[in-house]
Symmetry: C2
DNA sequence: GCTCCGTGTTAAAAATATTTGACATCCTTA
DNA sequence: TAAGGATGTCAAATATTTTTAACACGGAGC
């Protein structure tokens, strides 16, 4: 569980997009989307970019590095 | 070789930073820095974030997704 | 000439990300 | 109650990233 948070679930809800639909657009499996959404591990930069694009936001609006010491 | 470009070499030169120094700050090996710098593969999002931070720029200023059809 | 430093390469091993497939739960709706 | 959709979990296999270690090359300086 890396020090990275994400807004996938919220963004997905905003666009009324299912995990399966996001997975298809990104080109990964549903399990991968679940794992990333739940911070199970740090995705590859390429996958991260594709997720952000599929959700229609810049990468940093989808993933934030937890700069150790959240205030 | 993913569709992602990066400005690592240029940013590193700007700060007069060696590959080894960057690797140390990021917490990876020199070979990893070389591989990323040369687009050998897509790093993990976590590593990408650390590289950007070490270089003092936001992630998207360091890595750009090659949105297939660069104009 | 030699040596140090920064860079690049290679191969094999280790670690981590991703896939495949199967099954469970909770809603909704017929 | 049965069925379908969306989500979640698990384990094993595969793919990809990262490490380790060794060696090569060019440039700068002595």
């Amino acid at each position: 569980m890396p020090a990275i948070r994400n807004q996938i679930r919220e963004l997905r809800a905003l666009r009324e997009m299912t995990q399966q639909q996001l997975a298809d657009q990104v080109g990964v499996t549903r399990q991968t989307v679940i794992a990333i959404e739940q911070d199970k591990y740090s995705p590859s930069l390429e996958t991260a970019f594709k997720v952000a694009i599929a959700l229609g936001v810049p990468l940093e609006q989808c993933f934030q590095y937890d700069s150790r010491g959240r205030r």
